[in-house]
């Protein structure tokens, strides 16, 4: 039964839902510092609608299965060309999975990280789907 649910549209106008049980909400809210539903929905909405970069690719899963996921990164206060590999970048990441023609939010967090280590998916051959010109990632 859904405890935290909401609907969003990404920059491509695709519908994306979040539909978490109470237990899932409690786990995410503690581990990813999601203070409440409103804050979380705003974080997700902003990253999906105005991302800095979007990557898509297949993630391995249990039993040898693969799932297509899209990662929406929203850079807060982009530093543009002055960003070096160890420039700190405050960003939000939203991971969206697809199953049975439904796109759903798997996880979301906001953190500060050095530029060099943010796009983990590049190591796993994800494709760059979209990138904002001002993005320093």
């Amino acid at each position: 039964m859904a405890y935290y649910s909401d609907n969003f549209k990404d920059l491509f106008d695709s519908k994306i839902v979040v539909d978490w049980t109470k237990k899932l909400w409690e786990e995410h809210s503690e581990k990813h510092q999601l203070s409440d539903f409103t804050y979380t929905s705003n974080l997700i909405r902003d990253a999906l609608k105005n991302p800095s970069i979007v990557l898509g690719g297949f993630r391995k899963m249990k039993g040898g299965k693969k799932q297509y996921i899209m990662c929406y990164y929203k850079e807060h206060k982009p530093k543009n060309s002055i960003a070096t590999e160890y420039t700190e970048i405050d960003h939000t990441k939203v991971v969206v999975g697809s199953e049975s023609r439904t796109n759903f939010v798997k996880t979301v967090w906001r953190k500060k990280a050095f530029k060099n280590f943010i796009l983990q998916e590049k190591k796993y051959n994800f494709t760059e789907i979209w990138k904002n010109q001002n993005c320093s990632l």
Partner: protein, 139 residues
Amino acid sequence: MEESKLLSLIPQIAEIAKKNKWQTHYNESSDAFYWTKKKLSKKVKLIQFIDEFSLYVNSSGKIEGLFLEYAKFNFVDHHKEFKPLFRAMTHRVSADVYTISKEKEDKVEHLLENIADKVAKETLRVVSKGANIESLLSA
């Protein structure tokens, strides 16, 4: 908060974890691994200054845990020595979340210590290249 404080704590992660009884959680749905205090502080910050691992640091500058993305199906593919750790995470906490089963805790404890060592070594490498870890802790 001074960078030196955080830097001095990083080599002690394994001891901090033991002292504060950190718990492991593996989320199968997101393939994320957490090794943290049972209850993270409300004002804890998630920061990442090395590859793979992020750290939870509270407002006093104390480390409260580690977080690893793409854990079992990517990280372990490239670091097979940690395979037994994930194999030991068979005790179900909730629908998609697992922790180390009680009977296997002793057998994989050294692997958690190895993770702590790996984080410490990577941190030194990054700092030696001139990275300013303090910048991640500013508001």
